[in-house]
Symmetry: C2
């Protein structure tokens, strides 16, 4: 049963992790960050750090996997938002 | 110890849930969906459904809480993206 639960966890992990890749790619390619919200990205990043800690404490491999990767993706989006926002003087 | 773990879970839940609200508000207000990626929104939505099921199976109140609310937020973003994308003929 525990293995079945982890399978669903890894499906979820794969999807929410993969979900960020098109966004990172699109943002990287277009340099268009106008409709990305900086408060969102910052809150989200701190939230992902907390979920990562929670995943370790709950011994949840799928949560640790998902949040470790999403941590990198959300950091990249935050970095791109700050970088290109300033360049355009918005 | 279990209660302490849930406190971290709820901090994470609050942050990643709250993170979506500025994005939903900004998208709603500006109708600017150009830098939101539709593949991201769709994958993310299905991922959140999976995390919600995982949260129930792991008996994790913070995961159920977070993913139930994020489900609504991400559905709204997906709806706005499709609505305004078509209007602009993009």
């Amino acid at each position: 049963m525990s293995n079945n639960i982890e399978i669903i966890g890894f499906v979820a992990a794969f999807l929410t992790t993969a979900a960020f890749l098109p966004q990172v790619y699109q943002t990287w390619k277009t340099k268009d960050v106008s409709s990305l919200s900086l408060p969102m990205l910052i809150l989200f990043f701190i939230g992902i750090v907390s979920w990562l800690i929670y995943g370790f404490l709950k011994n949840s491999p799928s949560m640790i996997f998902a949040n470790a990767i999403t941590l990198v993706s959300s950091f990249l989006l935050m970095f791109l938002k700050i970088k290109y926002q300033n360049k355009l003087g918005k």
